[in-house]
Amino acid sequence: MRTKSIAIWSAVAIVGAVAWGVIALMRDETISAAWLIAAAVGSYAIAYRFYARFIQYKVLGADARRATPAERLDNDRDYQPTDRRVLFGHHFAAIAGAGPLVGPVLAAQMGYLPGTIWIIVGVIFAGAVQDMVVLFFSMRRDGKSLGQMARDEIGPVGGIAALIAVLAIMVILLAVLALVVVNALADSPWGTFSIAMTIPIAFFMGFYLRVLRPGRVLETTAIGVTLLLLAIAAGGWVQDSSLADTFTLDAETLVFCLIAYGFVASVLPVWMLLAPRDYLSTFMKIGTIVLLAIGILVTLPVMQNQSVTEFAHNGEGPVFAGSLFPFVFITIACGALSGFHSLISSGTTPKLIEKETQVRFIGYGAMLMESFVAVMAIIAASIIDPGLYFAMNSPAGATGGTVESASQFVNGIGFAISPEALQSAATAVEEETLISRTGGAPTLAIGMSEIFSGATGEGLKAFWYHFAIMFEALFILTTVDAGTRVGRFMLQDTLGNVYKPFREVSWKPGVWLCSAIIVAAWGYFLYAGVTDPLGGINQLFPLFGIANQLLAAIALTLCTVLLIKHGKLKWAWVTAIPLAWDATVTLTASYQKVFSSDPKLGFFAQRDRFQDAIANGEVLAPAKSMGEMNKVVTNSTVDGVLSALFAVLIIIVILDAARICIKAIRSREPLPTTEVPAQPSRIDAPSGLFDRREKELVA
């Protein structure tokens, strides 16, 4: 390192350290969001420069002279050397979605500090490490999927457990995301109209791209985005017109609309709906994230939320039950550590990467970006009045649904907001009500409209609110569509073992049947969540978090096994420590969800409480009838069984992997792996964002 470089990195370290100091020490005063940004960026820079570099060269032994599968197997289709900056864009667009926006908003009930620390520390030592190491190992195996690698390197038991976990998380993920959309659109004609309009817009784009102007993606997307903004503005007029009633749908109707949409979208040809939607949502997503970052930097809002609320200790928070450990780490998955990413890192990206030494930039770098999005989400949720936050995010059973009862409820849990303030907050964004708009999206939209209107003027507040809702709903629907397709392919592949034609992509009965099964599976949880008297987000979000962290545990286990198999026992801690942490968190959460005797926390305790009441002929609040009582019993049984299943799966995979690790350590010869032998590379490409010549100047 040269003197200049030492000076620069010392300065970065000092800025980061000062920012952390301010966050930690300013306990009773409000602080500016700028400090959170500075702490995050400073920490990321140091982690990327030093820790990720250490992992890339020392631990993994990435070698620029070794050809990647993209170079060796280049077929102009799935294998193709792709410019690192372009691939970074693709990879980031695939990993970043609603997750890093929703989780931090919910976790803000414990204050902004626990969530922020976990997002930053978690990404540096766990999330980004997982993404990068999985990407590396998959790249060394011609882009094999996580499930295949688990089967090849751990064994059939681990492989089957991984397959079940992937399918289960897919179903829960789609249900929870769809639930977020339903909660955001219920009884909101503005939002429902705008989102409904995205379907004809996408059809138009698909047709335009297929028939009128083949391949002109940018032009098509520009037209689509313009129409989309028009649809958002038009939503405001629709709300004030006689059409308003047509687009005012209750949650249950929306569920059936979404289920129908999910099925149709997943059997239509890709070019018709999925591809244009994907362009639209990706550009909107990146655009909005950039806007949000600029908005925060320009307005530098002040945090209104407490740094740590009492719910962190007593576990009685209304948004989700349970105390800080383990539930902050379950609620914030995407942004800190997300198992789902291991599917992307072992999917398309390893087949496109140009140089082995780019895994740091693409795997670790893209995850740092997602983490930054999560930090912005927690800022957006923490700059709004905490009273409003709790009125919006507590289930309807708690708030009672009116401004008066919600105000009373919020005052009862130690925060304050008047009924008038609640009403005027709703009026400002032209919504009927904001009470119990759970799921995170509306809260984030309020925070974003606050930030954006701070820069553009109060008059645009309602527009920005609906813009934010639209942007989230848009890419959640794309996820639902794409996820249903991926689930269908996995199911087709599995059923193909029994009856061959299922594997055929063109065999329509198989396609329809498998699509219907996947849609029915997430549709069931979506419906159960929407009609659950205890609140769907409150009940299902922990399950989603546990499933996601379970997948992360499988990915980290695989990474640890591979490090040991490759004779790198002394570096195995790089993935073993995050694995130990993740397994502890997930197993503790599952244990509490299964065995806790507190009915608010444990699914089975909840079941018993309601079952006993039914036996005595009583109706317990918040249920209003015997039918609702039975619903609670069914839901808590299903959720409890799933929590237990997830825990068992983790234990099976870890035990099976431990067997292989011990065998590998004892064996004199290295155990066989499926790594593809080295071949020399002929491509010359830089490894980082900047060109090597420029890099040498810095380094």
Partner: protein, 62 residues
Amino acid sequence: MTVRDVLGGVRWYLREVAGESAYDRYVEHRRREHPGEPVMTRRAFERWRQDEREARPQARCC
């Protein structure tokens, strides 16, 4: 670096990310590796590329 360079870079990046440049690369590849053989029209190529996506769905994360 001039303004023109920056705009050119942005244009290059957007075209690459959106896949608009795929056809140019395909034509160049055919000319280089299979000279004299027929080259698909843009319409046919884009159609083939879209339909090809059918068999390889990409998951979008949460």
